[in-house]
Structures are given as structure tokens and as C-alpha cells.
């Protein structure tokens, strides 16, 4: 009888510990995954902003950012040699740079370059808050998510996940005089 009780207690402890570890692992894994998603979105935004010609921050709830970049690749996906017109460097057509669109739909964030199909760059990110601040020569972005170590996550816990990115636009903007 005693053996059964002791064994039950040990098993219960082990199970509890396993569940706690599993939940901790899940929360930690979720945090790491969210962090990777956050970094990926931030890096994509920074990559495109650095080479952007025009920038328009979100115009509606679904659109996060619209920008244009030089049409660097020809139809064979090879880099073009640019041309100069009125002291402006143009890759391909001067009036048709490539539009890059960032949208949030459902729990995913998509990036669409030109006429290519939109590509999902982050999923399960319904808790992501992305803000874009256009300061002319620099654009600031910040991305926040909700960690799962406690539910609901506190405001401080959310704030602690913030990744700020201040990107200097390398090209002279064409949407400003």
C-alpha cells in the first residue's frame, strides 16, 4: 500500500515536472520562434527600406508599408547596367520601379515584390504590432509581440520584446522634392 502511494507521488511529481517543463519549453520555443519571425520581418523591412526610392507607410489596417525599389533585374533575372537621365540613375524604366508591398492578413505577414505572388514572411503573428514612422531620410520601425510565459502577457512583457530599427534610406527619395 505504502509502495503504491509513494510510487504514485513520484509519478505525479514526474508528470507535473514534465508538464511544467513542456509548457516552459513551449513558451520558450514560442518566444524563440516569435523572435525569429520578428527579426525576419525587421530584416526584410530594413533591406527594402535601405534601397527604396519611395516610401508610403500603411494606408489601411491591412497594408503595413508600400515602397518602390530599383528594377535591378532584367527579364533573365540578371543585374542590369543602369543608365543616367537628368542626373538620376535608373535601372530599367525610369518611370516603373518595382513596388514592394507589405501586408498583414489574418495571422500572417506577406511581402509582394512587383507582379510576383505575395510571399508569407511570418505566420502565427496575430499578436504582432508593427509600426512604421516615416522621418523622410530615415524610417523607424518597431515590432512587438506577446510572449506566452504568462497569459495574458503583461504590457511590460510585451514592451520588452520590442525590436526597433532605424534605417537610413540610401537613395534620394523620389517622392520628396
Amino acid at each position: 500500500m505504502m509502495t503504491t502511494v509513494v510510487a504514485s507521488l513520484i509519478i505525479a511529481s514526474l508528470v507535473s515536472a514534465a508538464i511544467a517543463m513542456q509548457r516552459n519549453l513551449a513558451a520558450g520555443d514560442d518566444y524563440a520562434t516569435a523572435k525569429c519571425d520578428q527579426m525576419r520581418v525587421s530584416d526584410y523591412l530594413a533591406l527594402d527600406l535601405r534601397r527604396a526610392l519611395t516610401v508610403t507607410s500603411g494606408t489601411n489596417a491591412g497594408t503595413l508599408l508600400v515602397l518602390t525599389i530599383p528594377d535591378y533585374y532584367d527579364s533573365n533575372k540578371q543585374p542590369r547596367v543602369p543608365t543616367i537621365s537628368n542626373d538620376v540613375v535608373n535601372y530599367g524604366s525610369a518611370i516603373a520601379p518595382v513596388t514592394v508591398l507589405y501586408t498583414k492578413s489574418g495571422s500572417s505577414i506577406y511581402r509582394q515584390e512587383g507582379s510576383n505572388a505575395a510571399t508569407e514572411i511570418a505566420s502565427n503573428v496575430s499578436d504582432f504590432q508593427i509600426s512604421v514612422q516615416d522621418l523622410n531620410k530615415v524610417v523607424k520601425t518597431q515590432i512587438i509581440f506577446a510572449p506566452q510565459f504568462s497569459r495574458p502577457s503583461s504590457a511590460d512583457a510585451r514592451l520588452a520584446t520590442t525590436v526597433f530599427n532605424t534605417t537610413l534610406l540610401r537613395n534620394k527619395r523620389r517622392d520628396r522634392s
Binding site: Q22, L25, C36, Y72
Partner: protein
């Protein structure tokens, strides 16, 4: 005895089950942790590769800038052939940037290779060659791992070369992250309204600095400044750390080199702290042909220009025009675009009604070794376009400062590049207008002076620098 054996077996089974469960948990933890670790070090290496590539571009820009001051040695260490000994196209040159190392976890080494070339497509309408700089930054994935992160979306963004170089297809010695940046370097002349190596001091709130573009009818009228069409690119910048804006109206940015802009109530643009421009000294001309060699010019005189490919060159000891005496710079024939270059080994002094007249259609480049004093309307630019007149202050052998003063209430239309000169505008007058651009050692402005920067000077023939006109990261 049998009962004891059964109990023992139960304990062993329990231990095995427990061990198995714990091992599985540990295995999952280690697996996930390793995946995250790989992802993080790949992110880190990829980020560093950008820094390496930017270093490569900086190296290319530095070499181009060196051609302006020391063309004989600018390309030391560069090769005109690729690794296989083939001559690079478009007069290209390449070099490998010295390894940059640092301590710490993860990647600790940054490499870069850079190529500078001059495609024919990059010659502008003024006949100036622009340059293409392509730099590849390389960093390494620590631990020689060929494991890739688990999320395929990362691979679309951060393209790694684990076994094969993703650009060249050749085998890589070590897994690496590479990033390629292409910039186009534009030869430029005067990019700002005012640039000084040291202090810029504006002593009156009535001072106005703005811009116009003599090439653009929407930004000028008949090529001249029109207050109704003023632009806000009248940038003011110093390599020093102080601009005293004096509450003047600066329609543009005010930039220092890690310094401050004080009394900046009316600066409409940004106040930046990241400015630095290497003010390349003007060397004494080394002409092989001189069309006229004269002493001190104190009376009426006319110097005639030549063609653009064969400008007429004159060497003068000094110019000191007073009274109603005029030194005229005339075209080779009426209405013909003409070019004249003048080398003044002494001072240029225009007082009273004495003047230099730059007649229509004449482009003048004037080298001055001494001091300059221009009173009132002492320098008349009949074309009213700043790019037609460039005054260059020659770097003195002894390194001493020169002085440039524009006094009285007149106007001056042209560009002044004198990195060794202390420039004073409207000293003693009450009103003065300067259309063009000034580069000097220090700049002081008084009274009701206005500087209208002509944006067309960015394309002036005298190159002062190269700037990045286009930047693109090739992420395919």
C-alpha cells in the same frame, strides 16, 4: 522470492520509462535549442556581411576620391585583372579589403572584395563618367556547420553559401554569408550652399540662405534666382563642430561633424551631425601651354576664350582694378560658347567701379593664389548663371590662410572653392546677394546678405567629390 523479483522488475520498468521520457524531453529541448542557435548565428553573420559589404563600398569611394587629389597613387593595391588573370571589363579595377576581425561568440572575421568599373552607359549628358562599385561582404558561419535553420522563409531572405557559392557556383572553403551591394558614384562639384572646414558664423537674422536651379524653369526664371520659385536645398555644412546660425533663415539642412547648430530657430531642414567632406586642396595649374603671360592687371584689358577642348589660358601676376577699369573676359566670337582659364599668382582686388566682366557665353575658371577682395558689383557675370564662373583658391605652399571678402551692396554670381580661405560676405555693407556656392575654411556672413545656392553647380566641371547616387543590395 517471486514477489520480490516482480517488484524489482516494476522498478526497472518505471526507471526505464522515466529515463526514456526525460531523454525525449531533453532531446527535443536540445534539438530546438540548436535550431534556434543556428538561426541566430546565421542572422548574426548575415547582418555582419552587410557591414563588410559597406566597408568594401567605402574602400571604392575612397579610391575614387583619391583620384581627385593624388591620381598617381589612388589605385595602389588594386588590380585590373580578375583572379584568373582576365582583364576586367569597363576599365574595371578590383581589390580585396584587408580582413577585419573581432572577438566574441559567433563569426569573428569580415572580408570584402570590391570592383570599380566605368560602363559606357554611365556617362552623363555633361560627358562625365560615373562609376559602378560592387562590393561583396563575406562572413563565416561559426563551427563550420552546414546545418541550415529550420524555417525556409529565412533562406529566402538570408541566402547562405553552405557548400557552393550561390553567386559563382564554386565550392566554398567554409560555410559563409555573403551580401552584395552595388552603388553608383556620381562625380559632383558643389553640393551645398555653404561648406566650411571650420566655423560658419551667420551674424544677422536677416540673412537668407536658400536655393534655385538655373536649369529648371520651374525653379528659376531665365536661369536666374526668382524669389517666387525658391527651393529649400540651401544646405549649410561644416567639417567642424559649430554652426552659429544666428537665427538666420536657412532653407535647407544644417550639418556639423558631431557638433551642434546654435541659434537655429529658422533652420527649415534637418540638423545633422554626420557631415564630413574631405576638402580636396586645389593644386597650382600645370599647364603646358599658356596663351598669355601678363604682369599686374590694373587697366582695361580683354582676354578672349577658346573652345571647350582648347580653352585659352592666361597667367597673370595680379588683378587690381579700380576706378572704371574693366578686365573683360570675352567669347571667341559673339554668341559662341567660349572657355577661358586664368591663373592669378597674386591677389585679385576689385575696388570702386573697377571690375571683371564675364561676358555672355563665356565660361571662366580662375585660379587665385593670393587674397581676394571684391567690392560691390566688382565681378559681373553677364550670363547670370553661376556655373559659368568658378573661382578656385590655390592651396598655398606654406599652408597659411588666405582671405576672401565680398563687400558692399552688390551681387556675385559664381562658385567659390577655396578650402584655405577665410570668407567674409557683406563685411561693411548692408545688403549683398550671392548666387552660387561657397567652399572655404571659415565663412562669416553679416547684415542682410543672401546666399542662393544654384543646384546646377552640382554638375559643374570642377569636381570636388564623388557621391553615392544609387544604392542597391542584390539579394537574389
Amino acid at each position: 522470492m517471486k514477489r520480490l523479483q516482480q517488484n524489482g522488475a516494476s522498478v526497472i520498468i518505471m526507471v526505464l520509462i522515466t529515463f526514456t521520457v526525460i531523454s525525449m524531453i531533453v532531446g527535443v529541448v536540445v534539438f530546438r535549442t540548436l535550431n534556434n542557435y543556428h538561426t541566430l548565428v546565421q542572422i548574426s553573420s548575415w547582418q555582419e556581411a552587410l557591414l563588410a559589404a559597406e566597408s568594401g563600398n567605402d574602400t571604392g569611394m575612397a579610391a575614387l576620391r583619391a583620384t581627385l587629389s593624388d591620381s598617381n597613387n589612388a589605385w595602389n593595391g588594386w588590380s585590373t585583372a580578375d583572379a584568373n588573370g582576365n582583364t576586367l571589363a569597363n576599365s574595371g579595377r578590383t581589390c580585396a579589403v584587408s580582413n577585419i576581425t573581432h572577438t566574441g561568440e559567433g563569426n569573428s572575421q569580415l572580408n570584402a572584395t570590391v570592383t570599380v568599373d566605368a560602363p559606357a552607359q554611365l556617362i552623363d549628358s555633361s560627358g562625365r563618367q560615373w562609376y559602378r562599385i560592387r562590393a561583396t561582404g563575406i562572413t563565416y558561419l561559426p563551427g563550420n556547420t552546414k546545418l541550415i535553420g529550420p524555417d525556409k522563409r529565412d533562406h529566402l531572405l538570408r541566402r547562405l553559401s553552405l557548400v557552393w557559392d550561390r553567386k559563382t557556383g564554386t565550392r566554398v572553403m567554409q560555410p559563409q554569408a555573403t551580401r552584395l551591394i552595388e552603388v553608383i558614384a556620381q562625380p559632383v562639384a558643389f553640393q551645398n550652399a555653404l561648406v566650411a572646414a571650420g566655423l560658419i558664423q551667420l551674424n544677422n537674422y536677416n540673412i537668407v540662405i536658400d536655393s534655385y536651379d538655373s536649369r529648371d524653369p520651374s525653379k528659376s526664371t531665365n536661369g536666374s534666382y526668382d524669389p517666387a520659385k525658391f527651393q529649400q536645398n540651401g544646405d549649410v555644412a561644416t567639417d567642424g563642430n559649430v554652426i552659429d546660425a544666428g537665427n538666420a533663415y536657412i532653407y535647407g539642412d544644417a550639418s556639423t561633424n558631431a557638433g551642434a547648430v546654435i541659434n537655429a530657430a529658422h533652420v527649415t531642414g534637418l540638423q545633422r551631425t554626420d557631415f564630413y567632406q574631405d576638402l580636396i586642396p586645389v593644386q597650382r595649374p600645370s599647364w603646358t601651354v599658356i596663351n598669355g603671360n601678363y604682369g599686374d592687371i590694373v587697366n582695361n584689358m580683354t582676354l578672349v576664350g577658346g573652345s571647350q577642348s582648347n580653352p585659352q589660358r592666361y597667367k597673370l601676376s595680379s588683378v587690381k582694378e579700380t576706378g572704371n577699369n574693366v578686365l573683360s573676359l570675352a567669347p571667341s566670337a559673339p554668341g559662341v560658347e567660349s572657355y577661358v582659364e586664368i591663373w592669378i599668382t597674386g591677389d585679385m582686388n576689385l575696388q570702386g567701379n573697377g571690375e571683371i566682366e564675364l561676358q555672355p557665353h563665356v565660361h571662366a575658371k580662375i585660379y587665385v593664389e593670393g587674397n581676394m577682395a571684391i567690392n560691390g558689383n566688382g565681378f559681373i557675370n553677364d550670363s547670370s548663371q553661376a556655373p559659368y564662373l568658378e573661382i578656385l583658391g590655390v592651396h598655398p605652399d606654406d599652408g597659411a590662410s588666405r582671405s576672401v571678402t565680398l563687400t558692399g551692396n552688390g551681387s556675385f554670381i559664381g562658385a567659390l572653392y577655396a578650402p584655405n580661405a577665410d570668407v567674409v560676405l557683406s563685411d561693411g555693407g548692408t545688403n549683398g546677394t550671392y548666387c552660387g556656392s561657397i567652399v572655404a575654411k571659415t565663412i562669416t556672413m553679416n547684415n542682410h546678405t543672401a546666399v542662393h545656392y544654384d543646384e546646377a553647380l552640382g554638375d559643374a566641371p570642377f569636381l570636388t567629390d564623388y557621391k553615392i547616387a544609387s544604392w542597391f543590395e542584390d539579394n537574389k
